[in-house]
Each structure stands twice: as structure tokens, then as C-alpha cells.
């Protein structure tokens, strides 16, 4: 049985030891091994007590001052993907870009940031339809010492203005690559010529900047799960080693077109775990490169290395609207991108304010009082609580409420399955598994074991 402490210490114990633990009949030897693993604090062990407190503190995420903005300078797009998450509008529409007043308000927001670093992600729509707005924002950040800009683009067209932005060392490119050309065409571009244009542009930016500057995500349709090797190959062929598998999010317009997504969740979980296993095999067969599924790696690192990732999707507590916000094309402000899509699809209005008059902290804080799994009755009894997180907006989007018993939510089912897989692999004796885990955990060598067994 797996024993896990609040600080995330864990060990696999014989059933008999667990029975002695429950019966309050631990032997001295039991107590020794358990305290060595940080799972028991003996009286007269001040260091054990401090180590435990420190370990718990390390697990508590800290949302600092606002330093991460997701900006939607335009809702217009030159593609019409089958599941577009955002509710885009046609390229020629008017009234869906920031106007002068919105831009001015966004720039004021930037002037007011009080941090040493800033990350700004440009979303859309297709933000490269308005390079002038992107440039205005980037120029305004000059005073902030550490800056990172990510342009999320479909890479359909790169004109000179856009290229000049890409050329900046502080700009990164994020795009979507759904698999082989046929899948990409089916889900996104609609035809071969448009797909070819995208693939040529992707090749062009990769050749020009190398893979560290360019990231790509596949959106996977759980109703038509792509061939794994085909998907992996399409990334590997572009020299991209990290794949962040993303199931179609059934918010936004996608909700209308893919009504069955809810039933497909189980198929998705199965696919994800098979995908991770396939990566392990491929990494073992070809040691020259390390392929990884980004979300699995994040979960794995959360088990061993609290604080290693600053990932807002999985943290605890996970307050919204504090260290990052989304500014929509009309200046409205949302706590997350999902909240924006949800509002747009008419499910529920989750805007917390706008960029002109600021946002109301009170309603947000009331929601954030529930942004932790720490005191949730189900999570408190769950072995994965120290590693897992909370996603208020996901619950709202699926159930319209945040008070469903945790184990009845898709967030819980997905993470339960994820951490089941993580721990199965941690205790695997297969050298291929150990090899991939070590690489995903960024270790110099490959440990002989990742988890302790107590007898």
C-alpha cells in the first residue's frame, strides 16, 4: 500500500505494517523506517518536525503580484477550426479588435505592474493580424527587466511586420500542430493548400530560430483519436520533443459541435496513458532524443520537486485573477482563458471586470476561498492531495458549480488516473521506464529506484 504524508513524502508499505499503523501497534523498527521516510515524527526529533513543516510549506503554491497577462488584441481569425475554443470571428469582421481606448487602458495596466518580470501571451483570434498592437505592448514593457512574450499563432501568414516581431529574442512562438497533414487539415485548415502553407511556415520558423523558440500543441479529438506514432512522428520530424496533449475543450463553440465529449473522457484518459507508455518505448529505442508529454512531466515533477514548475494549470491553492488575468478584445477581464470562452459561449458570465475601471477583488476572493484541495473532504483522504490541485473554472464549465463531491468531477477522475500512472511507473522495475522518468525529471543519471519499499 502507498503511504503518503502531507508534505508529499511517500513509500510503499506491506499491508501488515499498515495494519500495525492502524492498530497503533508499530514496532520500534517500524517507527525508525517511517521517520526516516518523513512519514512519522517521533517526540524528541525537532529536526523531523521542522522538515515536515518545511515540506508542507513547499507544497503550498504562492500566487504573487500580477505578472502574467494573456491578451486578445483581436478576435478575428483567418482560419475556422472545427472546435475553435475561442469563438472566433471572420477575418473581415469589424469591431472585434482593441480600439484606441482599449489599447491605452492595456498600456496603463502594464505601467502599473510592480514586478521585476513579466510574461505576456498574445492569444486570439489570430493575434498576428494586428502586429501593431503586439508591438505597442512589447515596447511598453521595456522598463521591466525580465520579459517574455509568447505569440500564439496559427502560422498561416508571416508578413514582414510579424517576422520582425518573431526576430526579437524575447519573443516565443506557440502554434498548433494536430498531427499529420490530413489530421491537421481535417481539424484546422480545411484543405491541403492551407495546410501546406502552415507546414512551410512552421519549417521556416524552426529553421530560422531552432526548436527552443517554437512550441506546438496538438489538439486531440477524443472522438477520433489519432494514431500515436503518426502524431509523435509529426512532432519529431519538426525537431519538437515536447508534446502537450490537449483534448478538445468542450467550451466555446466546441460545446455545440462536440456534445458527446463528456462521454469521451474515459477514452481520452486511456489514450493519454498509452501515449506516455509509447513515448517510454520510443525513448528507449532511440536514445538520441527525449520525447515527452508535457502535462505528464509536470505531474511527475510535482511528486518529487515541489516548486519546480510555475504552472498555473496545476497548483494548490490555485486562485484565479491574482497573478495572471486575461484581457479580451473588448477590454473585459477574465480570470482564465477558459473563463473567457465559457462566458462567450453563454454558459455563465465569469468576467471579473474590465481594463478601464479595473476589477472587483471581492467577488474574486469569495471564489478563491475555495481554490484549494487542502480542506476538501474527498481530497483530504486522497493519497495524491499534496501533488494534485484545483480548477474552479473547469468545474464551473462542466457542472455550473464548484461544490460537487470531488470524485464526481472530471478534474478528479483525470488526475486520479494521472497519478495512478505516475506511481505505477515510479515503482516499475523496467529500465526503459526508469530511463524516461529520469530524463523527464531532468536528472543527470538514472537512479536504480525512484520510490522506497518498506517491509
Amino acid at each position: 500500500m502507498l503511504l503518503v504524508g502531507d508534505a508529499g513524502d511517500f513509500a510503499l508499505a506491506e499491508r501488515s505494517m499498515v495494519e500495525r499503523l492502524c492498530a497503533d501497534a508499530l514496532t520500534d523498527e517500524d517507527r525508525d523506517v517511517l521517520s526516516r521516510e518523513g512519514l512519522l515524527i517521533d517526540d524528541g526529533d525537532p529536526l523531523g518536525r521542522v522538515a515536515y513543516a518545511y515540506g508542507v510549506a513547499e507544497r503550498i503554491g504562492h500566487a504573487g503580484a500580477l505578472d502574467y497577462l494573456i491578451l486578445v488584441p483581436t478576435l478575428r481569425c483567418n482560419l475556422s477550426c472545427s472546435y475553435c475554443q475561442v469563438s472566433r470571428v471572420a477575418e473581415r469582421s469589424t469591431g472585434f479588435d482593441w480600439n484606441e481606448a482599449t489599447l491605452a487602458a492595456v498600456l496603463r495596466l502594464i505601467d502599473g505592474l510592480e514586478t521585476e518580470r513579466v510574461k505576456i501571451e498574445f492569444q486570439g483570434g489570430e493575434p498576428t493580424l494586428r502586429p501593431d498592437l503586439i508591438r505597442a505592448v512589447i515596447d511598453r514593457c521595456e522598463r521591466i527587466p525580465i520579459r517574455q512574450f509568447v505569440i500564439c499563432t496559427n502560422l498561416q501568414r508571416i508578413d514582414d511586420d510579424v517576422l520582425a516581431l518573431f526576430d526579437r529574442p524575447d519573443v516565443f512562438i506557440s502554434t498548433s500542430l494536430d498531427g499529420d497533414a490530413a489530421t491537421h487539415a481535417r481539424q484546422r485548415t480545411g484543405d491541403g493548400a492551407t495546410t501546406d502553407a502552415f507546414l512551410a511556415n512552421l519549417r521556416f520558423v524552426l529553421d530560422r530560430y531552432g526548436p527552443t523558440k517554437v512550441s506546438a500543441l496538438p489538439t486531440v479529438d477524443p472522438a477520433r483519436l489519432p494514431d500515436m506514432d503518426g502524431l509523435i512522428d509529426s512532432y519529431a520530424a519538426h525537431g519538437i520533443d515536447g508534446v502537450f496533449l490537449r483534448p478538445i475543450n468542450y467550451q466555446g463553440f466546441a460545446r455545440k459541435r462536440h456534445a458527446e465529449v463528456r462521454e469521451l473522457d474515459a477514452a481520452w484518459r486511456y489514450y493519454h496513458s498509452a501515449f506516455v507508455r509509447r513515448l517510454i518505448e520510443r525513448n528507449w529505442e532511440d536514445r538520441s532524443r527525449v520525447l515527452e508529454e508535457t502535462y505528464f512531466s509536470i505531474c511527475l515533477r510535482r511528486v518529487f520537486q515541489p516548486g519546480a514548475d510555475r504552472h498555473v494549470d496545476l497548483r494548490d491553492p490555485n486562485p484565479v485573477g491574482v497573478d495572471y488575468v486575461v484581457v479580451d478584445h473588448d477590454g473585459r477581464v477574465y480570470p482564465t482563458d477558459e473563463a473567457r470562452m465559457l462566458t462567450r459561449s453563454g454558459v455563465i458570465d465569469l468576467a471579473i471586470g474590465d481594463v478601464f475601471d479595473g476589477w472587483e477583488a471581492e467577488a474574486r476572493d469569495r471564489l478563491n476561498a475555495h481554490a484549494t484541495n487542502r480542506f476538501d473532504p474527498t481530497c483530504m483522504g486522497c493519497a495524491y492531495q499534496p501533488f494534485c490541485g484545483r480548477d474552479l473554472v473547469d468545474d464551473l464549465s462542466r457542472y455550473g458549480r464548484i461544490d460537487l463531491p470531488r470524485h464526481e468531477t472530471e478534474f478528479c477522475r483525470r488526475h486520479l488516473a494521472m497519478f495512478d500512472l505516475v506511481f505505477e511507473l515510479i515503482y516499475s522495475a523496467d529500465p526503459a521506464v526508469r530511463y524516461s522518468l529520469a530524463r523527464w525529471l531532468r536528472l543527470p543519471g538514472t537512479p536504480t529506484k525512484f520510490g522506497v519499499r518498506l517491509s
Binding site: 526516516r36 529536526l47 521542522v50 518529487f304 543527470p444 543519471g445 537512479p447
Partner: protein
């Protein structure tokens, strides 16, 4: 090798501190200004009178802070300009007696805290000053008082204090939480997770248990800790277990330095029985580093010539040996990683060094 102590003559009655100054860019009250230089050495004049130092040039000594000992006839270059390796040796007494001690302790203590304090106030801006011994915290109050006063006056300075962690107690928590201590890091040795083994290596019963108590105090104070483990034959195989101990119980440290032995002090006499040829079997060291890294503990290797470390761990090998006692083998000449490499201690067995390198 750079000489740290030079013959000097002065008419002063008692030891004093001065900053040597060639005169370019103005002379302060605390400075001894250059008056003459010849083949023998340099002559300065300051508020303590004339000071003649032999065996160095005015350029070499410019803006060094020295402690002049008129009776002993020497000047100690306490803070050398431009060196990142300046260390104050605040006492030679110690309560432990480590197997491999590089500075075997002496019974007597000469209290020079006041001189060190004056010297620190004259330090170059933004410098990091080491404090070592003996065991500095045997004089904990004097030590902390000196650190606090210097840090208050000089917000640009930082200290790194080597201590065996045998003397911190609960009363220190509040004191060490002071904002000034964010500019102090504590280098603390631990040799094994097994108390009997650790205690045997440091020559003191109950040492690990006392160290744990101090560690709890330092953790509660939010102190910055560099954990140090010197590799000897006795603890090499116990290193992976120590890594697990660190990952479980000492997660609050900043970094864990695993250090190869220095051929001086006790280690010199016991070299054959203590030195671990890590190039031959890196196994337990690699395991320990991997286990630490797995749990997010940053490990680094000190005094490991880079070419002797297998490739996966090579980047953890730091250029750790102080400038004044570092040298490279002749065979190192063509190596491209020399600047990043620790090289060898001046007193490392020459043949062992020459035979052991493979330029990168």
C-alpha cells in the same frame, strides 16, 4: 602560489589594519599610502606610521586590506583586492577533530575580532567574505556581533561562514531572523546519515545529534545553508544514503557540495587510507547526486577536476579551489575546459595529478 603573509616592519605598538594604497584615486584616513618602492619591497605611510613590506610590488598589493603585526614582523593580506576567496580565520580552536581536517586545531585562541571588523569595513564593494576556523561559533557572540555590525554598515557585503553547527540553540532563532542574515550563508559539514559513522569521522560523540538540533534552529530562522560533505574512504559508500537523508530531512538547504579531499593537514598523513579515486568508481557519488536531484536538491562537486567526472555529472564540477592554492597539471595545457575546472590543490601529489587528467 600567491603568498598571503609577507615579512613586514612597522614601529606601531600593536597590531592594526590598513588598506594599502598606491595613491591613485585619493587616499583615505584608513589607508597606508605608497611612499617608496624598490626591488626588496614597498614602503607605505599611514596613521600608524611607516610600514615596509617585503617580497611584493605596489601594484600587486594595491588596495589590499592587511593586518600588520609589528611584533611578529608580518603583514597578512586579509582581503586581497579582486579575489573572491578572502577568508577570515577567526580562531584555531575546535571542539571536533575530523579525520581529514585541513587546518588541524590548536588549543590557544587569539582574539582578533576587532581587527577583522575594521578590515571588513574597508572591503571592496560588493565582496563576499569567508569566515573560517577552527570553529568560529565557539565564539558565537563575538562572531554574530561582528557580522551584524559590519552588515549594518556595509549593505553591499556578504559573508560565508564555515561552521560545524554544534552551538546554535533555540535562543538564536529570533536573532538569526534579522534581515541582515539574508546576506550570510552557512557552510556546514555533514559526513553521513548514520550517527556512529558521522561522529567517528568528526571525532566527537553525539555530533550528528547536536548538528540536527542546530539545523532545526537554522531552518526556523530561514538561514541560508550550504551543506558540505568531504569524500573519504569511510563515507564514500554511504553517500547515497546521506543523499536520501538530505532529501528527507534537510530540504531547506540551498545547495549540497560534495567535496574531494585536500592533501593537507591530517589528510596529508592519512592520504592513502582516506583518498577515494572517484575516477575509478563514480557509482555512489553519481547515485547520491541523482537521488538529490530527483528530490529537487541541488548538488555540486568541489575539487573534482572536470575530466575525472563522467559526462552526465561533469557540469556539476565547479572551479572551487581558491585562486591562491590552485594549480593545473602540465598535461592540462591543451584543455578547453580549464577555466571552468577546479584544477588541483597546490599540494596535491604531482604524479597523481599528471596521470589522472585527460584534457577535454
Amino acid at each position: 602560489m600567491i603568498r598571503l603573509t609577507l615579512p613586514a616592519a612597522s614601529d606601531a605598538e600593536a597590531p592594526y589594519v590598513a588598506r594599502l594604497n598606491t595613491g591613485r584615486g585619493g587616499v583615505d584616513e584608513a589607508d597606508a599610502a605608497l611612499v617608496d618602492e624598490d626591488a626588496e619591497g614597498v614602503t607605505y605611510l599611514g596613521r600608524h606610521g611607516v610600514l615596509a613590506i617585503d617580497g611584493a610590488s605596489a601594484t600587486e598589493l594595491d588596495r589590499d586590506v592587511v593586518i600588520v603585526d609589528p611584533v611578529g614582523g608580518r603583514a597578512e593580506r586579509i582581503l586581497r583586492r579582486g579575489s573572491g576567496h578572502n577568508t577570515l580565520l577567526v580562531t584555531e580552536r575546535c571542539d571536533q577533530l575530523c579525520l581529514m581536517c585541513s587546518q588541524p586545531p590548536k588549543k590557544t585562541h587569539v582574539d582578533r575580532f576587532a581587527l577583522f571588523e575594521q578590515a571588513c569595513l574597508l572591503a571592496e564593494s560588493d565582496s563576499l567574505i569567508g569566515v573560517s576556523g577552527g570553529e568560529p561559533t565557539l565564539y558565537k557572540d563575538d562572531l554574530l556581533g561582528m557580522l551584524e555590525r559590519v552588515l549594518a554598515e556595509r549593505p553591499d557585503l556578504e559573508f560565508h561562514v564555515l561552521t560545524n553547527g554544534q552551538f546554535f540553540d533555540d535562543d538564536d532563532v529570533a536573532r538569526l531572523r534579522d534581515e541582515r542574515y539574508t546576506r550570510v550563508s552557512w557552510g556546514i559539514p555533514i559526513y553521513a546519515a548514520d550517527a556512529a559513522l558521522h561522529d567517528r569521522i568528526v571525532g566527537k560523540d553525539g555530533a550528528l545529534s547536536r548538528l540536527e538540533k542546530s539545523m532545526a534552529v537554522l531552518a526556523r530562522a530561514g538561514a541560508r545553508i550550504e551543506l558540505r560533505t568531504v569524500l573519504v574512504a569511510d563515507n564514500a559508500d554511504a553517500l547515497p544514503r546521506l543523499a536520501r537523508y538530505v532529501a528527507k530531512r534537510l530540504r531547506f538547504i540551498e545547495v549540497w557540495s560534495i567535496m574531494q579531499l585536500e592533501n593537507i593537514g591530517f589528510a596529508r598523513a592519512r592520504w592513502a587510507s582516506l583518498f577515494v579515486e572517484h575516477a575509478r568508481d563514480f557509482g555512489p557519488i553519481g547515485d547520491a547526486i541523482d537521488y538529490a536531484a530527483l528530490h529537487g536538491i541541488r548538488a555540486q562537486l568541489f575539487n573534482f577536476p572536470r575530466c575525472t567526472v563522467p559526462e552526465p555529472w561533469r557540469d556539476l564540477a565547479r572551479a572551487s579551489i581558491s585562486d591562491w592554492k590552485r594549480r593545473y597539471a602540465d598535461a592540462c595545457a591543451p584543455c578547453r575546459e580549464r577555466d571552468a575546472c577546479s584544477g588541483f590543490f597546490e599540494w596535491h601529489p604531482i604524479q597523481q595529478a599528471e596521470d589522472g587528467v585527460t584534457p577535454l
